[in-house]
Amino acid sequence: MTREMTGAKMVVQALKDQGVDTVFGYPGGAVLPIYDEIFLQNDIRHILVRHEQGAVHAAEGYARATGKPGVALVTSGPGATNAVTGLTDALMDSIPIVVLTGQVPTFMIGSDAFQEADTVGITRPCTKHNWLVKDTDSLPGTMHEAFHVATSGRPGPVLIDIPKDVQFASGTYSAPKPSTSHYQPVLKGDLEEITELVAAMETAKKPVFYTGGGVINSGPAASHLLRELVDATGFPITSTLMGLGAYPASGKNWLGMLGMHGLYEANLAMHDCDLMINIGARFDDRITGRVDAFSPNSKKAHVDIDPSSINKVIRVDIPIVGDVAHVLEDILKVWKSRGRKTDAAAVKSWQAQISEWRKVNCLAFTASEKTIKPQHALQRLEELTKNHDRYICTEVGQHQMWAAQYLGFEDPNRWMTSGGLGTMGYGFPASIGVQMAHPDALVINVAGEASWLMNMQEMGTAVQYRLPVKQFILNNERLGMVRQWQELLHGERYSHSWSEALPDFVKLAEAFGAKGILCSDPADLDDAIMEMINYDGPVIFDCLVEKHENCFPMIPSGKAHNEMLLGEAETQGVIDSKGSVLV
C-alpha cells in the first residue's frame, strides 16, 4: 500500500508498521514536525526523558527486556551528540536500537547552522550503520531497512538523520516488505563444523560451556535449547556478565559467572577444561585475563554470528558462524542422531573436581552487625525479591559485580547491565525503559551513588510517568572500583575517588516527588527493602554500606584464570608493572 504523506508522518507511520509502541525522546527545533505528528496520534507512547543519553539507555533497557528494538528520538546537534554514549554502549553490547535524529534542512547542511553537527560522521564508528536521508521518498525505505539492520545478524544500534525539510516535504509512503537489501546474515552454521564439535563433545573429559550475550540476543528459543543441551550432556556451564539468565542460576550445572570478578570454580573450570564451547561470547579481556595463559590445554569451539569475532582474540579450533538458536538446534540434532554420547564417567569426575573448587566458597565475606556489607545487602535483596516478577538493571562498578555474583537469574532478558562499554549512568534510564516494557514488574536498579548521580535527572521521567522503578543505591561515598584499583595499584593514594558533597538522597527523592528510604543498620535492612518493594512508585533506597569493601574474587590485570585473588590477604604486590598498564 502506498500513500502520500509528509516525511514527519512517514516516520510515525513506519514506527507503527514496525510494531513500535514506545519511543524515548526529547524534542528540539529540528524534530518539531515529527513531534507534531506524535501529538496527533495515540498508538505510540512517547516518554519524555530529561537528557538524550537517558533516552538511548532507556531504549536499550526496553530492547534488552523485550527482545524488540528500542527507539529513541532526539534533535540535531547537541541532541545527537548526547546520544553518542548510548549508541556506543549499544554497539559494544550488541543491543538493537533505532535512534532518529533531526538535522538542519538539507540546504543548510555544511553551513555551521544553529544546532548543526555532522551526526552521521560523528556516529559512524558507534553505530552498526547510519543514514542521512536527503529526500522524503527514500525515508520509508530507510526506516524499514534500519529496523532490519538493527535486528538482523549481530544486533546493534542504527541511526537515521532526518533533515527538517525532509520531514516537511511530502512523498510516497510504502509499508514494510521483507528486506531485499544485500545485508542478509546467514543464520545456519556449517554442519561439518557442528559435527566436529559434537564429536569433540562425545569424547571430552573436562568440557565446559562458556556462554554470552549472544544467547540472549538470539531469543528465548536459544536459552531453551541451551538448557536442553546442557542438561542432556551434564556439562558444566559458565556465562559472561552479558549472558546471565540464559541458563538458570538454580540449574544443577551452573558454575556462576566467569571472568575478572567471576567465581573461582568457573574460572578454574575454564583454565583446566579440555573442551571449551563458547556460545555467543567474544573472549573479552574481562573474561580471558592473560591471553597467552588462557585455558592452555583445551580444544576451543566458538559459535558466533559475527565472523569477525572468530579468532579475534583467542585462536579457536572449531569456528561456527551462525545464529545461536539455529546452531544449538543443529548441535542437538546431530548429537542425538549419533546416539547421545558423552564420556559420562569422565564428566562425573570433572564435576567432582568442580565441587571441590566450589567448597572454597569464593563469595564468602565477613559479615558485620554494625555496618551493612554490600554483599549482605544484595543477598537480602535476592532473598526478598527472587519470587517476584523481577528485572534488574545496574550501573557500573563494584555494585555491578556484586549484583552479578549475589543475584540469581533464572530467565533471559531479566538482567540489564552495561558490559562492554562500562557506562556509569546506564542503569537508571535503562530501568525506566524496562519498566515501560513491563509496567507491573518489579524493576530494580542496583546502583552505586557515583554512577547513579550521572543520570539522576531521570527522576523527573520516573515521577512524571509514575514508573515505580526502585533505585537500590549501595552508597559507600566512594567510586568503589576506582578506589579498589588505587588501593591495589597506586599505593593507596585515593586520588579523586570520593565525593565530599553527596546529596541527601531521601530529600532528593522527595524533591522530585518520589519516596526516599535511608538504611544504615543491618538490623533494619529487611524491613527497609520490604518497604521499597511495597511502595507503589519510584523509590530511592540509600543503603549506606561499608566504605572500604573490595570486590573479590578478582583476577588481577595481566594474570591468568588460575591466579585469582580470593580476599584481602592475597592482594599485596600482586599486579606487576606490566599488568598495571592494563585497565
Binding site: 559512524r124 585462536r315 558462524v321
Partner: protein, 186 residues
C-alpha cells in the same frame, strides 16, 4: 572464494586452522572490496582502518558498476596473518560491503599503478632521464626546455625503482594513483 576467506555461515577455512599459531610475520596483502556506492562508504572503510589501528599502504576507489551503484576499493595493507584475517572479517561486516577478496591469497593477480613524475634538469642528466624512461617504458606527457613529466604504469615496485633512479636526475614531484588489482584468469 579463497581458502582463507571467512565466508558468512561457514568458517571451515579460517586461516588459523592452516597456520601453526598467531604468527608475528608481517605480510603484505592486496584486498579488493566491493561496496555500495553511497555517501560515507569510503569513510566507513577508512574509519575502520584508523579506528582499529590497521595500516593502509595504498587505497584506490572508483565506481565500477554504474547501474548496480557499486564501487571497488583496492587496499594494500600489511599485518600479521591474524590482523589480515581480522581486517577482512571487519570489512565484511560493514553493512554496505558486498564482497571482500584477498587477491594476495586468491591470486595470482595483476597489480598496476600509474604515476606521473616531474624531473627537472639540463644537459647529461636530462638525456639520462629520457634514456631511463625509455627503458622503463615511461611516456613523456609534458616537456619544457628544462623539465619532463613522465607517465609510468606498472607494479608498485617498478614505479618505486623508476622514481629512485630519477631522484639524482632532478625528480621534484611524484603523483601516484595507488594500486588497482584484478585476479588473473577467469
Amino acid at each position: 572464494m579463497s581458502a582463507l576467506h571467512i565466508k558468512k555461515g561457514s568458517t571451515r577455512h579460517s586461516a588459523y586452522n592452516l597456520r601453526p599459531t598467531f604468527s608475528d610475520v608481517q605480510e603484505r596483502h592486496t584486498i579488493a572490496v566491493l561496496v555500495e556506492n553511497e555517501p560515507g562508504v569510503l569513510a566507513r572503510v577508512i574509519g575502520l582502518f584508523s579506528g582499529r589501528g590497521y595500516n593502509i599502504e595504498s587505497l584506490t576507489v572508483a565506481e565500477v558498476d554504474h547501474t548496480g551503484h557499486l564501487s571497488r576499493i583496492t587496499i594494500v595493507t600489511t599485518g600479521t596473518p591474524q590482523v589480515i584475517e581480522q581486517i577482512k572479517a571487519q570489512l565484511g561486516r560493514i553493512v554496505t560491503v558486498h564482497d571482500v577478496h584477498d587477491l594476495t591469497v586468491e591470486g595470482p593477480s595483476v597489480e598496476r599503478e600509474l604515476a606521473i613524475i616531474k624531473v627537472v634538469g639540463e644537459g647529461d642528466k636530462r638525456v639520462e632521464a629520457l634514456r631511463l624512461a625509455d627503458i622503463f617504458r615511461a611516456n613523456v606527457v609534458d616537456s619544457t626546455l628544462n623539465s619532463f613529466i613522465f607517465e609510468i604504469t606498472g607494479a608498485p615496485d617498478k614505479i618505486d625503482a623508476f622514481a629512485d633512479l630519477m631522484r639524482p636526475l632532478g625528480l621534484i614531484e611524484v603523483a601516484r594513483t595507488g594500486v588497482a588489482a584484478l585476479l588473473r584468469g577467469d
